[in-house]
């Protein structure tokens, strides 16, 4: 940038008289010549305000006067009309409504559940249910018909509302990028008439909110960038804060929000780097810039994210299907949890479930399936849902002492103390928790843990020593107490620690967590710590009510680790072909569509498919941008300046921001190992859509007004025409699908059965 500034060849080449009427905005004149060049800005007075001549017709004059409000309002109305039209046509649960509708119901029933996404989006779904008078009783089973009392139309409208707001946002963002009205409306039209955006907005899903907050972040960032010349003004603070707030919201809907955070982050770094070069700026001012950004772009999003989780925990105060993902102490405070009647002290003969204390830890579990390699004995895993296979019974150890000493027959019990050796038996299969010097299936540096033998068959490798770490309530280490005592289980023979490190097993282990015997002996690693969760012993009385509360930050972090682990487990299964999933390489050219429901003749069918007249130009525009930038750079290297400094800076700023936005929202999916679906591309698409009008305008800037109108006319007409032709895929196709086979433009679209 430094070099570019110094060069200033023809700074005033575009100082032409202002155009007489507002329609004739020339993008070149719209750009502030001093944009991003503060020194010059203050050196020279601003160009005189354009004098706007209004039409003599009072209606037209009205429109001209209030176009700033009228155009976005008009676009919003159009968006509402396209989004809400026939929204309740299909009265069955479509696609992922099965998930998100169900999660929404959990909020209404206040039952704790677990999901891989952060809670904000689902809370909004819950809110939509509450607003439309739904009581949370419906199970949202995929493909089932909505009962009479579920106002699914209301819920869908609430979701579609967010999706509709994308349209005015696209317009406003384009305006902030200094595009002409003609170009900005084209951007909005492309967003409005993209069948994929339309389709995804109309159901009870998170994507419309995710999209909305992503686009809002971009919009806030662009407004903020345009406030650069008046730092620390009210507007400046407002938009910086708004950027931070919307970033927090995106992140609280889905973790892909991190990509837009990266975009804003890069923008901020560039901004600060620019300022660093300004030697005249006082150091205090510079520090203030840093501080302002740290507060608004780091603290605010973090607080929003934390707040969404705080709300989540607050609303979901009842025990529900997601309990087992959380720490035992967290569960203990949920109303109606399964261990209110637990006895306190552990004794030989107790039946219990054992929870890993590490972040994201699960319940020690075993099932009849065996390891496919290694010892080929019965699998032992960690599992995050409650079932009988999580149960273990404490039995006397092998060889050590007389079993009678451990379990006296007369109803007395022997409590488990620190240092006691025990054997754990798995009641559903009768096998013992066992380890041996065989490498574990995934973490091959550790020993495998399996379930082996039975009550009589077995060896000394079934023995485990209890080592108490501490107790959160009672200070002594005398006894092992359910919930509060944290302990390690040490294998007496191999001297290794029972541990579960959030490593996911392949399909043969049902994507459960690997359990190993860790020979590194990391005694301070919480992944080797366990606590007792459920505890049953007929000989013991129930425990007094536990007043200990888990800390919010601990629960928050625990839940996030659990989300991360489950997210990583969502890897494609090579044994199973999933017709819904697609690979990132198929997205940019819209070479894949997604069937959102059953494909029978009697069902209203929705096909998630991009409008080719939007997607193809959008992708092409990215390549055109790269080629143009390369072209200009090479020409500049040869001292041929096609653009003035201000124009080049502006071209680079807009193009770079949009390209980076697309890049950051797209490339990570290529690297990610998890299953990817078409709708993951939608945020990236938005950036490439904005690139189309920008480049159209850039390259037609020197042409006559007539040619420009023709070019834009073609763009408008093709988007609208193709949309009308493809609209049924988003509004629902009834009758046999073969009626629509003409719309199968690409062979790879599975719109029609082969």
């Amino acid at each position: 940038m430094e070099n570019l500034k110094r060069r200033h060849i023809t700074p005033d080449v575009h100082q032409q008289p202002s155009p007489p009427v507002y329609e004739q905005y020339n993008p070149a004149t719209l750009i502030d010549h001093n944009y991003g060049d503060e020194k010059n800005k203050f050196a020279k007075p601003l160009p005189p305000q354009q004098r706007v001549v209004y039409s003599s017709n009072k209606y037209i004059a009205f429109c001209q006067k209030y176009h700033r409000a009228l155009i976005p309002a008009g676009l919003t109305l159009l968006a509402f009309w396209t989004r809400f039209r026939q929204i309740g046509l299909s009265n069955i649960v479509v696609w992922d409504e099965a998930h998100f509708g169900k999660f929404g119901s959990h909020y209404l029933k206040n039952e704790f559940y677990f999901d891989v996404h952060p809670p904000l989006g689902k809370m909004l779904v819950g809110l939509s249910g509450w607003l439309s008078g739904y009581n949370g009783s419906f199970a949202f089973e995929s493909g089932h018909k909505y009962p009479e009392d579920v106002n699914y139309t209301g819920m869908r409208i609430f979701n579609a509302f967010w999706g509709a707001l994308l349209v005015p946002l696209a317009y406003l963002t384009a305006r902030q990028f200094k595009m002409s009205q003609r170009a900005s409306i084209l951007a909005a039209t492309m967003v409005l008439l993209d069948t994929a955006y339309l389709c995804i907005s109309r159901f009870i899903l998170l994507d419309s909110m995710l999209m909305f907050f992503t686009c809002l972040s971009l919009y806030c960032m662009t407004v903020f960038n345009n406030c650069k010349n008046e730092p620390f003004s009210e507007n400046w603070w407002l938009w910086l804060g708004m950027t931070g707030f919307s970033l927090g919201c995106v992140l609280s809907v889905k973790w892909v929000g991190l990509f837009v955070i990266a975009l804003v982050g890069l923008n901020t770094i560039e901004d600060l780097w620019e300022m660093l070069g300004d030697v005249q700026m006082p150091k205090k001012t510079y520090a203030a810039h840093w501080l302002a950004r740290a507060v608004c772009l780091i603290c605010i999003p973090t607080l929003v994210y934390l707040f969404s989780f705080a709300m989540h925990f607050l609303v979901l105060y009842r025990s529900g299907p997601g309990d087992a993902q959380m720490s035992s102490l967290f569960q203990a405070r949920l109303a109606g949890n399964s261990f209110e009647r637990n006895p306190l002290d552990l004794a030989y003969g107790s039946k219990l479930t054992i929870k890993n204390y590490g972040y994201g830890g699960g319940l020690l579990h075993s099932h009849v399936q065996t390891f496919p390699e290694g010892s080929k004995q019965q699998q032992v895993t960690c599992y995050h849902y409650k079932d009988d296979n999580n149960h273990w019974i404490i039995r006397p150890p092998r060889v050590i002492g007389n079993p009678q000493d451990y379990e006296p027959e007369n109803g007395n019990v022997r409590f488990v103390k620190d240092g006691d050796v025990i054997r754990l038996i798995h009641p559903p299969t009768g096998r013992n928790l066992h380890s041996h010097p065989i490498a574990a299936p995934i973490t091959s540096g550790q020993w495998e843990v399996s379930a082996y033998g039975n009550e009589t068959v077995g060896d000394i490798q079934d023995n485990w020593k209890v080592e108490i770490v501490d107790d959160l309530v009672y200070k002594d280490k005398e006894r092992v107490r359910s919930l509060t005592t944290r302990f390690r289980l040490r294998h007496t023979q191999l001297n290794c620690l029972l541990s579960a490190n959030n490593v996911v097993l392949p399909q043969w282990g049902f994507k459960q967590i690997e359990v190993t015997c860790d020979k590194r002996n990391r005694e301070n690693d919480p992944h080797t710590w366990w606590n007792v969760e459920e505890h049953y012993n007929d000989n013991l009385p129930p425990a007094p009510k536990n007043a200990y509360k888990s800390k919010f930050l601990h629960d928050f972090w625990h839940l996030n680790v659990a989300m991360w682990t489950s997210n990583n487990a969502l890897i494609p299964d090579p044994d199973k072909e999933d017709i819904l999933s697609s690979t990132p390489s198929e997205w940019p050219l819209a070479s894949v569509g997604l069937r959102m429901c059953g494909w029978g003749d009697d069902i209203i069918k929705y096909y998630l498919l991009g409008n080719p007249a939007v997607w193809w130009p959008a992708f092409a525009s990215l390549l055109v941008f790269l080629a143009s930038a390369g072209f200009y750079l090479a020409r500049m290297q040869r001292k041929i300046h096609d653009l003035s400094n201000a124009q080049w800076d502006h071209f680079l700023y807009v193009g770079k921001t949009l390209f980076l936005g697309w890049f950051l929202h797209y490339i990570p999916f290529c690297i990610m190992g998890r299953v990817t679906y078409l709708h993951h591309y939608f945020p990236a698409l938005y950036f490439s859509i904005l690139m189309v009008p920008f480049l159209l305008e850039h390259w037609t800037a020197k042409m006559s007004n007539r040619t420009q109108w023709i070019v834009f006319g073609i763009a408008y007409v093709s988007v609208i025409a193709v949309f009308i032709y493809f609209a049924p895929v988003a509004y629902g196709m009834s009758g046999p699908i073969s009626n629509y086979k003409g719309r199968r433009w690409l062979k790879s679209w599975n719109l029609v059965d082969k």
């Binding site: 660093l276 070069g277 995934i442 091959s444 072909e577 690297i671």
Partner: protein, 757 residues
């Protein structure tokens, strides 16, 4: 801000100050007539002596007890075997390109080795098996010594002092990983050798940039291209050095495009074309050439046959497959074999049970299963559905619709929309009496390789049996049926018809002895164009390479490599308690990664300072630090970072080329930190015919060594030597160690040495 701001240059304005380094304008010097093109840096004698010493030391560390162990070590299992295949001229398949293995084979050939030994497992004895293993190991070991020479010369050509050059070379020769890896029969020393050669040639080329299009310029440009191709011909990892050179050339071209360089577009295009020729076209030819040699040597059928297409296999002499292959005709009774799970398609009189354990219901039809041993129940008659002439035998072709009759029970193969016993998503396969449900017994013959002859034949053309009615393929997988199915393998109709495991191979035609018939026919060896062979092999290499994902106990993740979190156990012997544990020199590796951090820190600080209008580093120093040390940094990055994106199983020895580059960078950082100034300029300016460089006056500077330079170098080398000697029992595999000693040698608790108990 210009580069000659006197305030910042204060330190060295006085060129007359004889004791310290001097920084002067060459233009000035020239006027005085004292400039000789290269500043009065270290004398060639100093360099020669130092080079001789490090080479000698390198010979000692590399060749020390090279005969020990006289047993197969780690990957010698593979590469020794591959060399043997070249000597026997039998076709084999490997994921790496052929050059290094051919070099090993050539060494074996000169030693009179005939390739008889199979290098079966780690620990097999060489002496008992009469293998000239010392000679074979001599080749990689010699390459390692040459690597040391190259490192020295790279540093020398980059204009570093004798001390720096010696330091880099000595660090490398005292690196335990380089010694352990590069004297065994493996590919890495060749890889590193060619990689360093490429860097050396490129630096020589770059130094001649003011003498463009002279003979020397062309020589080093083409040499860069050739050595680059040699690197890739050793291992695909060579592509990393290609990336480095690519980046350098792009930066170079971008500079040439700058109008301030004064080149016309025509001249620029000449530069561009010269590089395209030397760095794209010539390397491609060299790479292809080695494959040509590869195919020319391996003209006999061997263990690699099965990896290739049948068309390829037909080009090999004594191809077993060709002797066994027969065309299939209508009416033949054949056996179908599933290559993936090694079972034969089978049926017997038992029926599917009415109700399965999970409550689903079957058709109660006759079972169709897979068995490991072929028997009479495995014969299937191929029946036509079109009119065929009765007099002559009609061959079965691609896309023919056929029926398959189970000969023993006289029923036809059928599949239908009933869930299969174990996999509810797939269709049940059963058989049906003659004449019933005709439409559901029709299968389409889809040959895998139907472009090379569309007649179905045994052993040559694998076949997919596509059910005409329901569009599923007959398929089996590694799952056995419960007791009612006699524990035989589950066969079902697979809806995923694109799966490679849908293919079956016909192995036998009842009553026909293939060998006999083929002996009488005397098929000739078919030809296949070299390019076709090349692309087939290349494709299969890449596919196979990415398929190497099977976990290995000693695999590791790239992030752990520079810190040496874990080594690899290469070899161990129980009775002598000796072992070879591949690990780097902990001192040198940690120091080098520290060098990277220093480099990054200095560059960051400099960038920030310059942004604030301060230029803290002298221009020649900074220039060298960016262009020379920057090249080493890019080398290190390109040899390291790509591994993070790789899906296959990775090992510590994949980091060795990067570790080597890191020593180069360490040398450059050492010079920057401990030696005052740098010998500059390093590229000769004179002798150019081009007048436009006349205006170009670089600043001149001479490096000055102080006692601290020597002290620092001495301490670093002492540390490196100490660690090398300490770890040497693990590197040379001798002497054996007691438990106590083994535990002592566990520098990090994560090292899993043998005999630690």
């Amino acid at each position: 801000m210009t580069s000659s701001d006197p305030k910042l240059r204060r330190r060295r304005v006085d060129p007359m100050d004889a004791g310290s380094s001097s920084l002067t304008d060459i233009g000035e010097e020239k006027k005085k007539g004292s400039w000789r093109g290269v500043p009065s840096g270290p004398s060639p004698i100093g360099h020669r002596t130092a080079l001789a010493i490090v080479t000698l030391l390198g010979c000692i560390t590399t060749f020390y007890k090279i005969w020990h162990p006289a047993e197969v070590v780690f990957d010698e299992v593979h590469f020794g075997k591959f060399a043997g295949f070249y000597l026997k001229r039998t076709y084999f398949f490997d994921v790496h390109p052929p050059l290094a293995k051919m070099m090993l084979a050539a060494a074996g050939y000169l030693l009179g080795y005939d390739g008889h030994f199979d290098f079966g497992t780690i620990g097999d004895n060489y002496i008992e098996n009469n293998v000239p293993y010392v000679g074979l190991r001599m080749l990689p070991a010699t390459m390692n010594v040459l690597c040391i020479v190259l490192i020295y010369n790279i540093m020398r050509e980059s204009g570093y002092t004798v001390l720096t050059c010696s330091l880099s070379a000595a660090m490398y020769l005292l690196d335990n990983s380089a010694v352990a890896q590069n004297r065994l029969i493996m590919l890495d020393s060749m890889l590193v050798f060619y990689m360093l050669s490429t860097v050396y040639c490129y630096i020589r080329f770059r130094k001649l940039r003011y003498q463009e299009f002279t003979r020397g310029w062309w020589f080093w440009l083409i040499a860069t291209g050739v050595t680059m191709a040699m690197t890739v011909s050793v291992k695909m990892v060579g592509l990393f050095v290609v990336t480095t050179i690519g980046i350098c050339v792009l930066v170079d071209l971008w500079g040439l495009l700058d109008i301030k360089r004064g080149l016309t577009m025509k001249e620029f295009m000449r530069h561009f074309n010269a590089r395209a020729l030397a760095l794209i076209i010539i390397p491609t030819c060299v790479y292809l050439f080695w494959f040509y040699v590869h195919f020319a040597i391996l003209d006999q059928s061997g263990p690699g046959d099965t990896f290739m297409s049948s068309a390829f296999q037909e080009t090999l002499k004594n191809s077993a497959i060709k002797m066994k292959s027969l065309d299939i005709h209508y009416g033949d009774e054949i056996i179908l074999h599933h290559p993936g799970t090694e079972v034969y398609l089978h049926s017997h009189t038992l029926k599917y049970p009415l109700r399965y354990d999970d409550g689903r219901i079957s058709s109660q039809g006759q079972q169709v299963t897979g068995v490991k041993e072929a028997d009479d129940n495995c014969y299937w008659r191929v029946k036509a559905t079109k009119d065929i002439s009765k007099d002559k035998r009609t061959p079965v072709r691609h896309n023919d619709i056929i029926q398959l009759e189970h000969v023993a029970t006289g029923t036809n193969l059928l599949t239908h929309d009933v869930a299969s016993p174990l996999l509810a998503t797939n269709e049940e396969v059963t058989t049906m009496e003659q004449g019933k449900r005709y439409n559901e017994t029709l299968f389409k013959v889809v040959l895998d390789d139907h472009n090379n002859g569309n007649i179905w034949s045994t052993h040559m053309k694998s076949v997919k049996l596509m059910h005409v009615d329901t569009k599923v393929a007959i398929w089996t997988r590694d799952k056995v049926l419960p007791e009612w199915g006699l524990g035989q393998q589950d066969v079902n109709g697979n809806k995923n018809t694109q799966d490679r495991s849908n293919f079956w191979m016909a192995t036998e035609i009842k009553g026909l002895n293939a060998t006999e018939i083929n002996m009488n026919k005397k098929k000739e060896i078919k030809k296949m164009s070299f390019i076709m062979k090349f692309f087939e092999l290349q494709g299969r290499m890449l596919r196979h390479n990415s398929g190497l994902t099977k976990p290995h106990p000693y695999q590791s993740t790239p992030i752990t490599w520079p810190f040496l979190i874990r080594g690899i156990s290469y070899w161990s012997k129980n009775d002598t308690r000796e072992q070879i544990y591949m690990t780097g020199n902990v001192f040198g590796w940690w120091l080098s990664i520290g060098g990277v951090a220093v480099y990054a820190g200095v560059m960051l600080a400099d960038t920030l300072a310059r942004r604030r209008g301060v230029e803290p580093i002298d221009e020649p120093l900074r220039n060298r630090f960016i262009s020379s040390a920057g090249l080493f940094l890019i080398l290190w990055l390109t040899h390291y970072i790509p591994f993070f994106a790789m899906g296959r199983s990775l090992f510590l020895h994949h980091y060795l080329p990067a570790a080597t580059c890191n020593y180069l960078l360490l040398g450059a950082v050492f010079q920057f930190m401990f030696i005052d100034g740098i010998d500059s300029p390093v590229s000769p300016l004179e002798g150019t015919t081009n007048t436009k460089y006349r205006r170009f006056h670089p600043l001149m500077m001479v490096a000055t060594l102080s006692k601290y330079s020597y002290l620092a170098a001495f301490l670093i080398l002492l540390g490196q030597l100490g660690m090398f000697l300490f770890l040497s029992p693990l590197t040379y595999g001798t002497p054996g160690m007691t438990v106590q000693q083994v535990l002592q040698h566990k520098i990090l608790s994560t090292w899993d040495l043998q005999f630690a108990k």
